[in-house]
């Protein structure tokens, strides 16, 4: 019962703040609303007992990515300035696209009968680590290494792009 109430609270937080994050006219506020959405998502992972995923969500998303976006906002915007909103026509068309897309997806979801697993399997974090480094059947060592190269490349690229000298 408690978990059920918690689920509805987190769902309401996610829906309200993701709406505010895409409609707020102040960039810093939109960033903070995004932070609330990511924290509520971590909460969802906690109530389904995936503590490791929730930890990653908190550290990488809520901690790292939001901090980067906040830095970018502080370097490029005057805090408190309102940004230009969309034109009414654009707003109506975008709302139409989103509502139709969401309606079609939800109607398909409600019509489909998902075969839910009957029993709950206990969660063991060490299995995730062993799978990430396993090079046998069903192991994930190749994508793991590819992602590590990707992170290194993006780190170098970010430094190169941001340090570029240009002459006026």
């Amino acid at each position: 019962m408690g978990a059920q109430i918690m689920f509805y609270i987190l769902a309401a937080v996610i829906l309200i703040f993701s709406f505010l994050a895409v409609t707020s006219r102040k960039v810093m506020r939109a960033t903070v609303y995004l932070l609330f959405v990511l924290l509520a998502t971590a909460g969802l992972y906690f109530i389904i007992d995936y503590n490791f995923m929730a930890g990653i969500q908190l550290i990488v998303y809520a901690g790292g990515i939001v901090a980067l976006i906040v830095f970018a906002v502080m370097l490029t915007e005057r805090i408190g300035d309102k940004i230009e909103g969309p034109s009414t026509m654009q707003m109506i068309l975008a709302a139409l696209v989103s509502v139709i897309g969401a309606g079609v997806t939800i109607s398909v979801l409600l019509g489909h009968n998902f075969k839910q697993a009957s029993q709950d399997v206990g969660q063991d974090v060490s299995r995730i680590g062993e799978n990430l480094l396993n090079y046998g059947d069903g192991g994930y060592v190749l994508p793991f290494e590819v992602v590590s190269i990707l992170l290194l490349a993006s780190m170098i690229a970010a430094i190169v792009v941001a340090k570029r000298k240009f002459e006026n």
Partner: protein, 105 residues
């Protein structure tokens, strides 16, 4: 698993979150707010992977591991995007997509 909450409830939340991200991606004109909309979309997809892992295939780990990769790719993407935004700001004195039409013609 939570009593009375099925897999469809989670999917409806992530669907709505995804399409709010799409709405923001279309209507926003500021580069950083477009980035925020992309984060919403990626986060909705990550929720889907985790929920499918938990509710439909609890004995496997594929959903969680793909979510971890999505989060890692999102981190790399944001690092590059922020570097580009800051460089864009230094050359154009603005972060509005309307200004970035140098390569349009």
């Amino acid at each position: 698993m939570i009593q009375g909450i099925g897999v469809t409830d989670f999917f409806i939340i992530s669907t709505l979150m995804f399409f709010m991200g799409v709405y923001g991606f279309i209507t926003r004109k500021n580069l950083i707010t477009i980035l925020i909309a992309i984060e919403l979309i990626l986060n909705a997809v990550a929720i889907n992977f985790v929920i499918i892992n938990k509710y439909l295939y609890p004995e496997g780990l594929h959903g969680q591991i793909f979510s971890i990769f999505i989060i890692a790719v999102a981190a790399a993407e944001v690092a590059i995007a922020i570097a580009i935004v800051i460089d864009f700001y230094r050359t154009h004195k603005s972060v509005s997509v309307e200004e970035g039409e140098m390569m349009k013609y």
